[in-house]
């Protein structure tokens, strides 16, 4: 649409060039083209979103929300489901992830944080890693071995106590109480987390076997 100052300009053009007999609409179009080339304006944001959405087949992230000046109850176009997901993320960031999506976003938050400001390695973890690599028993491993050793001793004690006291036990043939170290490859450190059940299963299986052997030995059937 031509503005008042556009009309003045058009009139001026016509008067300065008497041979020009263009229609006002043609002149206005020409003037708009000149203005667009000289001082192009911004694209309307809504139009831009619509164009992008059409071009990318709806594969767009939600446009930014500008809530300034909007009453709180009308702020954001989030529906209930989105607010619940946002709340789950908030809880995850506060240390209580509850949904797979919140856990995934928490993992992403950590990726960003670790790249931006990586925290130092906790010393006890470092000692455990060093000990494993250099074949020394770290503090962590010593604790684990101690607990496992106590379990082994308890299992062996059960084996010894369950024999018939009237029968003379062929003690020399009994499987002795011993460490569980031989059940694990010393070159392969325990993982930092996980596989506890399989380790306990392995120890329990081995000790059950010891118990059976001891019983058979005391019964004289071996």
């Amino acid at each position: 649409m031509s503005k008042p100052h556009d009309d003045d300009a058009l009139r001026g053009l016509r008067e300065s060039e008497p041979g020009t007999e263009l229609e006002p609409a043609e002149l206005a179009a020409g003037f708009e083209a000149l203005r667009a080339a000289y001082a192009p304006g911004e694209i309307d944001p809504e139009l831009h979103e619509a164009l992008l959405s059409r071009a990318l087949g709806g594969e767009l992230e939600a446009p930014a929300i500008d809530e300034r000046g909007v009453p709180e109850e009308l702020q954001s176009s989030a529906d209930r489901a989105e607010r619940e997901r946002a709340e789950a993320l908030r809880a995850a960031l506060d240390g209580a992830p509850s949904t797979p999506e919140a856990r995934a976003l928490l993992a992403l938050a950590r990726v960003l944080r670790y790249a931006h400001e990586p925290p130092p390695l906790v010393e006890i973890h470092h000692e455990a890693l060093l000990g494993a690599a250099l074949g020394r028993r770290s503090k962590l491993r010593r604790i684990t071995t101690g607990v496992v050793g106590a379990l082994a001793a308890a299992a062996a004690a059960v084996g010894l106590l369950s024999v018939d006291p009237q029968r003379e036990a062929p003690r020399a043939d009994l499987v002795p109480a011993r460490s569980t170290l031989e059940l694990f490859d010393p070159a392969e450190p325990f993982p930092r987390s996980g596989e506890e059940t399989s380790r306990i299963d392995r120890i329990a299986g081995a000790r059950a076997s010891d118990l059976r052997k001891n019983r058979y030995a005391t019964w004289g059937v071996r």
């Binding site: 992230e61 709180e72 954001s76 946002a86 993992a107 960003l112 790249a115 130092p120 390695l121 074949g135």
Partner: protein, 252 residues
């Protein structure tokens, strides 16, 4: 409430040393322990390094090469935490994966230290290359959303190998690695809406309380939660697309 990502608090009371990525610098006599915090002015990344005197380091390397595990332990005790913090954790994005990688790095160092040849730049550049190779293997074997793609690390490795004995010393390399990781974060945030990027920066990177971040964005706290959720979802989508594009490129 403060953001809780389960991260240990930064070291306190330690002297910070500002370093910058530059041309190789000659090694000087230094204190046996200096420290690092990466809190600093924008554009400057500081690195905390438990350094060894060059002469002592050389002697330890000679002993370790001859099979002295105690000497090798001292070298790894000095530089392992730096490998973890500057190289592995930022590139792998998870504490458990970074610790697995450090463990694997140590195993490989123990196996291959006999092949190491002393360089004036010290042992750290060699350890860093070993750690980067492990990180590269991990990234290739497990596709997850990370800021670093295998190609990024392959490029860093190539650069490290080109430097060879002209490599800068530990704190310069660490500062470079930390800075590279921060640039990755900035690049990722630049790919999403600036308002989303601001929400992530305030709440996740700067760990500001929700109320403060909401005030900064001029929205209510509940709306801020929605904005942050949209921001993280948008960033996840961007990173997934980049990873998919790289995979496609590798396949083709």
């Amino acid at each position: 409430m403060a953001l809780s990502l389960g991260l240990p608090s930064p070291l306190e009371g330690l002297r910070a040393l500002t370093v910058a990525w530059s041309a190789p610098t000659p090694r000087r006599a230094r204190p046996t322990r200096s420290v690092v915090s990466s809190q600093g002015a924008p554009g400057i990344v500081r690195a905390v390094v438990s350094r060894l005197e060059p002469e002592l380091e050389r002697e330890l390397c000679v002993r370790a090469k001859a099979g002295d595990r105690v000497a090798l332990g001292r070298l790894l005790r000095a530089y392992g935490p730096l490998l973890y913090r500057a190289v592995l954790l930022p590139r792998l994005g998870s504490e458990s994966r970074a610790q697995d990688a450090l463990s694997e790095t140590y195993t490989r160092v123990v196996e291959r230290f006999s092949q190491y040849e002393w360089q004036d730049c010290g042992v750290y550049p060699w350890l860093r290359v070993v750690a980067m190779r492990i990180a590269l293997d991990q990234l290739r074997s497990r596709r997850r959303e990370t800021l670093f793609e295998p190609d990024d690390i392959a490029e860093e490795l190539e650069h490290a190998e080109r430097l060879g004995p002209a490599a800068p010393d530990a704190e310069v390399l660490a500062a470079h690695d930390l800075e590279a990781a921060r640039r990755k974060v900035q690049r990722a945030l630049a790919a999403i809406n600036p308002r989303y990027a601001l929400a992530i920066r305030l709440r996740v990177l700067e760990e500001r309380p929700r109320e403060e971040a909401a005030r900064e964005l001029d929205v209510s706290v509940s709306t801020f939660d929605v904005v942050l959720h949209r921001a993280m979802t948008a960033l996840k989508k961007v990173l997934s697309k980049e990873a998919a594009a790289e995979l496609e490129e590798v396949r083709s």
